[in-house]
Structure formats: structure tokens, C-alpha cells
Amino acid sequence: MNIIGPDYLVFGVDDVAAACEYLTAFGLKPVDVTEKGGRFETLDGTGVVVRHKSDPTLPPPLPTSNMLRQQVYGVRSAADLDAIEAELSSDRRVTRLSDGSIELKDDHGFELKFQVTIRRELDMPAEKINAPGAPAQRGPNEIGVWEDMPALPRTLSHVVLFVPDIEIATHFYCERLGFVVTDILTGAGPFLRPKANDDHHTLFFIRTPDYMKGCEHLAFHMGGPTELMVAGTRFVKKGYQSFWGPGRHKFGSNWFWYFNSPLGCHFEYDADMDKHDDSWVAREAPNGAEASQIVLFEMREKWAPGGGPPPGAKG
């Protein structure tokens, strides 16, 4: 089962205009978007679909206040869809749609869809850095930052779910769908990577009471930590609300910056995540402030130290 990762997350919101404004400002590109909502893309075509919560084309809501309606996973080929259907139709209804994709529910009732991935292959450089002792990544006259530098989400990176039972969730994704546990934050939950993706995680669970079941956040890969901080700074300047970050996680090593949203969950810019293969042995650490980040910063308004004495100082 060559599952690559999330292609789209689908949300049913109470204010479509607000969600559309937010997603656009976050850096996603509206595609076929009307006043009824639509699809918002990253650079590789993955992204978010929003519609009004009463839209009859949406899958049914969770029995909580969460707005997540469906997670759409991309797989490599039609054969992978057949394999998933064969595995899961033994104990649940699997619906085959006319485009070949399949829909079903996971063991917690989250709506899932699997399709041959729509993601486009990206061909663009990562952030380049120079350091003594290493060959220069940016050669002479190649500058690192400039005022209008691009800082757009490249791809949908990962989803974090509030689930009441970690064992049920882990069993479903690992035993039935071939995900691998890369690391565990004890007290929260495991980081999972699907077989056809070497990112540290595309999925993470946090144990919560039943009434919180839903999406905690979704994250988008940026080209590097500088792009992440530039995008986040621009977002804050437009009035959007930072929740946590910027900082850098320990497990996964990814830089992070989380924001509130009108979609009922956080949106995260992330960058520079670890890659793993099957030889990796999962680490475990108790969840907490120390385990979850190596550094944490909080944005402040720009200022600069000047040259002269303080105003009013006796000189």
C-alpha cells in the first residue's frame, strides 16, 4: 500500500468568506473558488477544500465542534487503491467512486478518502546556507534574503488528530494501512509516516476526551526556516493570530509556527523535517515543553538598536 500522505483536508465551516480570506492570506491559491467555497492549493497541488457546513456535498460532520469533514490521502497507483479496498472492505463499507477513488471511515469515525495522488512533482531548491568548513551553498553574489522573497507553502505536510484512543488509532493506520511509528511522545501519542513517504511524520495523534475528537492542526512545508519566519511575520502583520512559535521541534526536527484559524483548528508553517527509512528505531520521550521543542521564540515588533544616546540623556 503505497500511501504518500494527505492530498487535501476537507472542512465544513460556519463562515465561508472568512475561511477563504484566511486560506488565501496564509499563502494558498484559490482554485475554482466561489462564494460557496472550493479548493485552495499549495505549490504542488495539495491543499484544503472548504465549504459551508450545511453543504450537502460534504461528508457528515464529526459529533464534536470540529470542522474537519474528510482527509483525502494520495496513493501512488490504482493498484494501491485496490489493495486498500481489499484490506478494509472485510470489516467496513468501502465506497468506490466513479473516478476510482475510495471512501471509508477509520476506526474512530474519521472520514477518509484515498485517490491516486494529484500532487505535482516540485523542482525547486531548498533554502541554502553558508557555513565555515562546508562548501558554500550560495555562491558569490547570491543573496539569502530580500524584501519580496517568495515564502509560499510548497505542500501539505501533516495532519494532527485529537483521538480518544491512541491504540485504536495506531492499530488502524499501522496494521491496516502500513504506516510506521517514527517516534512517540508518551502522554500525547505517536508520530506516523506512511510507507511511500520518508518524512518523519504525516500524521500525529494526541489523546483527548471523546468530545474533542477532530483535527488539532494541519501543516504545510516551506522551503526552509527563513521562508517559514518570513511567511509567519507577513501573516502576523496582516493581523492574523500566532498561537505557538516560531520554534523548532525535537522529534522530526522541523521548524514550526502555528496560527489560529476560522476553520476550527491550527494552521502550521513547517520546514526542514527529518527523513527516515525502515532502519530507524523509534524514540520515546514523555510529552512536555522540553520534549516538544529545542527552541521557542515569540514574535515582537521590529526594532533596531541605534547609535546615539537615549533621548533625553545628559550628554
Binding site: 463562515d15 472568512a18 465542534s65 470540529n66 474533542m212 493581523g239 493570530q241 484559524s261
Partner: protein
Amino acid sequence: MQNDVLIDERPGLAPAARRLCHVKDIGEGEARGFGPLPGSKRKIIVLRRKGVLHAWLDACPHYATGTPMAWKTDAYLNGEKTHLTCHSHHALFDMETGECVLGPCLGQTLTRIDIVVGEEGDVFVAAPAEET
């Protein structure tokens, strides 16, 4: 309000430093954020419901530190404009009682900020703002 940064002693903020807004700044069913007042990290949300002004600390009780609730400057309400909303995990709060009626902090309550309205219609924090 430029001089606020110079007034950092609490309790006993000068009245000018405790001013939030004017009564006319908040229409029926609207909510806006002001501050933070000197010495506090969180804004104060002022809203009008059934003609009455209420003020709440902009600190969702879901996490002990209390986190800011808007998704954008002054965007504190849900889409239907019926509830104060934390746009972290979509907790809904009663606008008049501050009680969480749906979401992660179900049953918990926002911190009420006592306010007074001056003769000119200015809205002030009555007690020193709490540090959060």
C-alpha cells in the same frame, strides 16, 4: 495611549492607562479586542449583547496559560455571531456568562474583567488588570 508603556505599576494604573474604548465603539452583537493593558500579556475583549457591555480576558481556558482566541484582529465571534469563539480548537463561549458551551474547555469559564463607563462614555477597566 502612547504613554502607556511608561506606566507599569500595578495596582493603581492611572485611569488613562485603564481605558479600553468608547461605548460607541462596540455595536450590538459586536466584539473587539483592546490592550493589552500595561503589565498584562493578554488583550481584553469588549462585547455588547442585548445592549449590555461585557468584558473578558482574551485567554482561552483550554490551556493553563490562557491563549489568545481571535483568528485575526477583532475576529472573536463564530460565523453565526452567536458565541465568543476560541479559534484554536473552536470552543464556543456564552457571550454574557463566559461559559464554554461546546469544545475542549466545556464547562470552564472565561475570566471576566470588571468595567466602568465614565461620564463621557469611555469604558475603563474597574480593577487592576490581572497578570496572565
